[in-house]
């Protein structure tokens, strides 16, 4: 490898990188200008008049605070439920012997082929008949159920390298399988469980289709943004502020934890769908 890399490579990658964030810069600058300035183009910075007007008004014009709370609530509950239930299942599949074990495991880890579209007709009818449309459970249940395909797979892959001696020692000391899970295995699963948590957090926060169909009011940020977005709306500055609020939390999580995200993606085979 050359000690000093060729300049043209850095320049080319730099140009592509800058090109890639132009749309993001556009949204940020749009949120800081008046509708009149935006009509001339947000990039005309010479005669732009910057204002925080959109950022102060967006909170009252759109139900941002309620949607933010809804996003936090749905995402947090679904993430915690996955963090609790997927490791228990992965442990049972990996260490315990029971009838239909391999068949069930194959079914669960291959459920990643299921597009979200498959669940919407049956669950829409089911929730409607149970009176659950508009209830947070209507969204949280499929959020958690659809996470197992990669969450169980991810934790189980981690268990492949888990020292067998620890499990055997616990067993000899009279620890039952459930106790072994809670006392020996679970405390050592911090890294795969946090990888699961990050993936599940991003997926739940960013999803649109399920909450759009199964919730009425108190919709999360993505649904609110989809409702207010439009080509011909003059309030582009406030919409942009709302978009930044929607993207901010997952983007921070994503950038902070990219390494875990990458590792998770490599074994899970499920992107941001």
């Amino acid at each position: 490898m050359p000690v000093t890399p060729p300049k043209w490579i850095i320049a080319l990658v730099g140009a592509i990188g800058l090109l890639w964030i132009v749309p993001l810069i556009g949204v940020a600058l749009t949120s800081l200008q008046t509708p009149e300035a935006i009509a001339r183009g947000w990039w005309n910075l010479g005669n732009a008049d910057f204002t925080l007007d959109a950022w102060t008004r967006v909170w009252t014009e759109y139900p941002i605070a309620a949607s933010l709370w809804s996003s936090v609530k749905l995402t947090a509950i679904a993430t915690v439920l996955t963090m609790l239930t997927a490791p228990a299942a992965a442990y049972a599949f990996h260490y315990l012997r029971f009838p239909l074990r391999r068949g069930t495991l194959i079914l669960v880890i291959n459920a990643f082929v299921l597009p979200q579209q498959v669940v919407i007709i049956p669950l829409f009818q089911l929730w409607r008949d149970m009176g659950l449309i508009g209830n947070v459970a209507a969204v949280i249940v499929p959020y958690v159920g659809l996470s197992y395909a990669w969450a169980v797979f991810l934790v189980k892959s981690f268990l492949e390298d888990f020292p067998k001696e620890l499990i055997e020692a616990a067993r000899i000391d009279g620890c039952g399988p459930v106790g072994t899970f809670f006392r020996i295995v679970l405390p050592n699963l911090v890294s795969p469980i946090s990888a699961c948590a990050i993936l599940q957090f991003l997926w739940c926060w960013n999803s649109l289709l399920l909450p759009m169909l199964f919730l009425r009011e108190d919709v999360p940020l993505t649904v609110m943004l989809a409702r207010i977005a439009g080509q011909y709306d003059p309030n582009v500055n406030m919409q942009s502020a709302a978009a930044i609020v929607t993207a901010f939390v997952p983007l921070c999580v994503f950038i902070l934890f990219q390494k875990q995200f990458a590792a998770g993606n490599q074994v899970s085979g499920g992107g941001k769908e």
Binding site: M1, P2, P5, P6, I9, V13, G14, I16, G17, W20, I21, L24, V27, A39, R40, W42, L81, A89, A92, L96, P99, V108, I109, N110, F112, L114, V118, V119, I120, I121, L123, Q125, L126, V141, G145, Y148, F153, L166, A169, D173, G179, F181, R183, I184, L202, N206, S207, L208, T222, L225, A226, A229, Q231, A243, A247, P250, N265, G271, K272, E273
Partner: protein, 314 residues
């Protein structure tokens, strides 16, 4: 190592176990499995197994809105095969999926290989490209509305005006001829991050000695890329191709926000067609049959991954 003192948390339970070692007989394996699997079984059953079975069942029925379902056998599928709107949607889905995958993997792969020559210097630029992957499809759709806005506040029309090509300015999302290209551009923009990441991760694992040997032998960067890095990064790229294919195949969010499937259904793919038929026209049986077609397409693309996972399931 004893069972009782090896735990980090759950102190109370651990102490109980220490006080009365092995007094209670541990659960047999299958009993413990039932306990540990029960919560997953509940969520998985309600939101994967039941919907899967019910979608397949509904696809053999005629069902509109709240009315009763009547058995029509393969009627819905026969109707789909003759529905010119659906057939056009199938071709459009294929074009969208292949274009987005080819563009995003092509750019991500190339940039990932280039970055390997200057990992430190390109780190901030990699992050700029990769960050778009952390942005939801809904927000990406909104962002790209801003670029394709029909008036002079749209970036693309604005740039064309600045370049003296003002006569090329047009309502990109408003005409069937250009809306699909706009959608592909937006979807590719947000899909480049993953192939970039996986390519870069793959080339990082190539031993330094191999690259140094190539350099000493006088190989130019492009030759090193072509002959050494490209083949050695293939495993990572394969995963990226697979994930991007599946993601594009079942796309919905970005289409819904950016174009709403329009104009004149020119940006509807199967994943969106299914939504329109079942959730806005309440033609549930027909919608279910469309969903089964989508599921089969995703399964076909996923077959290698399914085989790999099934073999590895021990």
């Amino acid at each position: 190592m004893s069972c009782a003192n090896s735990s980090g948390g759950l102190g109370a339970m651990a102490r109980t176990a220490a006080a009365e070692p092995a007094r209670r007989r541990p659960l047999p394996d299958w009993g413990a499995a039932m306990v540990l699997l029960a919560p997953m079984a509940l969520f998985f059953g309600v939101s994967v197994l039941y919907p899967l079975a019910d979608t397949v069942r509904l696809s053999f029925h005629e069902l509109r809105g709240l009315g009763g379902a009547s058995w029509v056998g393969l009627g819905n599928y026969a109707a789909l095969a003759q529905d010119p709107v659906f057939l056009a949607t199938l071709w459009r889905t294929l074009a969208f999926t292949l274009s987005v995958t080819a563009i995003s993997v092509g750019i991500g792969w190339t940039v990932g290989l280039l970055c390997a020559f200057a990992p430190r210097q390109t780190a901030p630029f990699r992050l700029m490209i990769f960050a778009t992957f952390g942005i939801s499809e809904a927000v990406s759709g909104f962002i790209w509305i801003g670029i394709f806005r029909p008036d002079s506040s749209g970036l693309l029309n604005g740039l064309l005006g600045l370049a003296g090509l003002g006569e090329l300015a047009q309502p990109w999302l408003g005409s069937p001829g250009t809306a699909m290209a706009a959608l592909i551009a937006a979807a590719s923009w947000s899909a480049v991050g993953l192939p970039l990441l996986l390519t870069f991760a793959a080339v990082q694992t190539i031993p330094k000695s191999v690259l140094e040997a190539a350099y000493i032998d006088g190989a130019k960067p492009l030759a090193t890329m072509w002959h050494i890095m490209m083949p050695l990064s293939l495993p990572g790229v394969r995963v990226a191709v697979f994930i991007n294919l599946v993601t594009a195949l079942r796309a919905f969010d970005i289409i819904f926000v950016l174009t709403g499937g329009g104009p004149a259904r020119s940006t509807e793919t199967v994943g969106f067609f299914m939504y329109r038929v079942s959730m806005t026209e309440f033609n549930l049986g027909y919608g279910a049959a469309t969903t089964v077609v989508l599921l089969l397409a995703v399964m076909a693309v996923s077959l290698p991954a399914v085989i790999q996972r099934t073999k590895g399931a021990r």
